[in-house]
């Protein structure tokens, strides 16, 4: 039985792609209000987990299960998962020339509000909300009228991801290497944005290679993923230790 403050509970998860096993007995529990950092070497399965949680279809779950808010997450389509509050900040956000950012953001927010049974926003209300949130992320308004991620710098793409997160107000936010490709200033701005979105009802899973992000966003827990399972968990000091010694000692 899942406890009321548990958002996500993964038990003995085995996942493969094209007959190649990737996650091999993963256990993980995320609770309300907590930030979990997931670290691990390349190829350990971090992005597979992130994409699976957002319900990308490419994967085959061979055993185990994922409970999200008491429901079997694996029965949900990507849009249903989004409506129920699952959000993935992509490592490589896709650019879509021909669709403006404002059209994309408004479609996403209104589709989600509608599915949640809430009133949708008209153009004026939406513009006011999105402009406020962009100001907080130090994003120029011009990015609204450009095509989705098209010609965006690395920093602009990641800020745009955090903007989507702040608009959609997810219950479970998975941030896949949000720090990759960012300079120090962009990293600080993105970290500030994420910290502003920490609250007592939300769980955040931060996937990262480096301790650097964690000095701006302090995690409650740190997990190390290796060969498809979590081999060590601890508090933020584990991240510092990993930074110093690498993954080999584990």
């Amino acid at each position: 039985m899942t406890r009321p403050n548990t958002i996500l509970e993964i038990k003995d998860l085995h996942v493969g792609i094209n007959d190649k096993p990737i996650l091999q007995g993963l256990d993980l529990k995320l609770e309300k209000g907590k930030v979990h950092a997931l670290m691990g070497p390349n190829g350990s399965g971090k992005s597979t987990l992130a994409n699976l949680l957002a319900r990308k279809e490419d994967y085959v779950v061979t055993s185990g299960h994922i409970q999200y808010l008491g429901e079997d997450l694996l029965t949900l389509s990507p849009e249903e998962a989004a409506w129920k509050g699952v959000f993935l900040s992509f490592q490589y956000p896709v650019s879509i020339p021909g669709v403006t950012n404002i059209q994309f953001l408004k479609s996403a927010l209104n589709a989600t509000l509608k599915a949640q049974g809430k009133p949708v926003l008209d153009a004026m209300d939406f513009l006011k909300i999105v402009k406020d949130k962009m100001a907080a992320l130090e994003m120029p308004e011009a990015l609204l009228y450009r095509f989705v991620n098209d010609g965006f710098s690395g920093g602009e793409k990641k800020r745009n991801e955090i903007l989507q997160m702040s608009l959609l107000e997810p219950t479970l936010a998975i941030l896949d290497e949000t720090d990759s490709g960012l300079d120090i200033d962009a990293l600080k701005a993105v970290a500030t944005g994420i910290n502003a979105l920490r609250n007592e009802n939300r769980a955040i899973l931060l996937i990262t290679h480096y301790q650097r992000l964690l000095s701006y966003i302090e995690p409650d827990f740190v997990h190390v993923l290796s060969n498809g399972k979590i081999i060590k968990s601890g508090d933020k000091s584990l991240a510092l230790e990993l930074e110093e010694k690498g993954y080999a000692w584990l």
Partner: protein
């Protein structure tokens, strides 16, 4: 006579007795044209340029030109078909003038000119068929130095309620020196029976003339719409062309553009959207005859169901056409396993001092982009629509502004 077309033959005879006003010269020209048509027969996919267009050969001889039509259209029905009911407008119903806004010095309907001479390089069998049955030619003449602010609309509505009809419109558009105009041609087919609209349009741009042109073909599921558009451009003239095809059983437009003098530019955008069993064919040829001309062709096709599209795009640069710049791009989006796109971009370059690029792609919706949109809560069908909209976006950039809301609606319904 090696082609069995009893309906056409008797229609041709009857027609001569109905239209007594035909001059002997025109009768001769039309009779020549009809015999050329018989020699050449209907085009089939044995011809290279018709390779991917399957005309219903069995039923082609059934299409018959109507002898006399009373354009009798309920005004309200007409209004609903128009893009902008308040603009300068010419509405042709099965090639007869149904509505014409008054005081149009630029428009005239003249008897077909008898000086037609068959030229095998320029005239196809359907050109000859068009000539053979042509009674009136519609002329739009924009005088030198005049700038027409409002677009000129020609609506061509082919109505077919019983027997399969064949309609042969002939249009001449002349834009004078330093003149500017926007021309919107809309070809619609209405009615439950098969119809065949066989259009020939000649456009001439004088020195420094500028024409923005939209050629929209929107057929009914029983209609064949075939068009040949021949464009001649003088020095420093600018032609901005747009072709939009939204179905019909078979739709084909052949644009042949001659850049006859230096510094002429042609910018052309095309969109084809096919579904069910529709066949859409864009045949495009631009000839660079003189130095310093520029041509740019962008085309997009979206094909679903058992639809089939064809694109033949040729840029030919003659020996003395140095400093030519030319760009040719055709992209095709297949939305079903049975959709088919055929694309043939061609360059024929006869000198070294040119910059020409060409490219063609055939593909599906990008699954990563689709997942990105859906993962934000956008429903799969809406996400697909957004990506289709993004795909066709580059082909809609040179449209007359006034046509955009109308077209966006049409495309969205599609």
């Amino acid at each position: 006579m090696n082609l069995l077309t009893p309906n056409l033959d008797s229609a041709f005879k009857k027609r001569a007795s109905h239209i007594s006003a035909l001059s002997p010269a025109l009768q001769k020209a039309q009779s020549d044209a009809f015999s050329h048509f018989h020699t050449l027969s209907f085009p089939s996919n044995k011809l290279d340029h018709w390779k991917y267009t399957d005309l219903p050969q069995q039923s082609l001889p059934m299409f018959t030109p109507p002898i006399a039509i009373e354009p009798n259209v309920p005004f309200q029905q007409l209004q609903s078909l128009l893009m902008d009911p308040h603009s300068l407008t010419l509405v042709l119903f099965s090639n007869e003038v149904a509505v014409k806004t008054p005081d149009q010095p630029w428009f005239s309907a003249n008897p077909t000119s008898p000086d037609w001479k068959f030229d095998p390089l320029r005239h196809s069998s359907l050109d000859a068929l068009n000539m053979a049955f042509s009674g009136n030619e519609f002329h739009i003449r924009i005088p030198d130095h005049s700038i027409t602010e409002a677009p000129i609309y020609i609506y061509h509505i082919t109505e077919s309620f019983q027997d399969p009809v064949l309609i042969n419109p002939r249009h001449h558009i002349t834009v004078g020196k330093n003149a500017q105009a926007t021309l919107i041609e809309v070809y619609l087919s209405v009615g439950q029976s098969p119809s065949f609209t066989n259009t020939v349009t000649d456009i001439t741009l004088a020195e420094n003339a500028c024409l923005t042109h939209l050629f929209l073909q929107k057929g009914s599921p029983q209609s064949l719409q075939i068009a040949k558009i021949h464009i001649d451009q003088d020095k420093h003239s600018q032609y901005v062309g747009n072709s939009i095809m939204l179905g019909g059983s078979v739709n084909r437009a052949a644009f042949h553009i001659n850049l006859n003098e230096s510094f002429a530019t042609c910018q052309f955008s095309a969109l084809q959207m096919a579904k069910e069993t529709q066949r859409l064919d864009l045949d495009f040829c631009v000839q660079h005859y003189k130095p310093n001309c520029d041509s740019k062709i962008i085309s997009r096709s979206v094909i679903q169901g058992n639809g089939k599209s064809a694109f033949t795009g040729k840029i030919a640069v003659q020996k003395n056409a140095t400093k030519t710049t030319a760009q040719l791009e055709n992209k095709n989006l297949l939305l079903s396993a049975t959709a088919e796109a055929n694309t043939r971009p061609q360059l024929e370059i006869d000198n070294d001092d040119v910059q020409c690029t060409h490219g063609a792609t055939v593909g599906h919706l990008d699954p990563d982009a689709l997942f990105y949109l859906i993962s934000r809560g956008i429903k799969t069908e809406d996400a697909r629509q957004l990506l289709i909209q993004a795909f066709i976006y580059p082909s809609l950039q040179t449209l007359p502004t006034v046509s955009l809301p109308y077209l966006e609606n049409l495309i969205h319904e599609y």
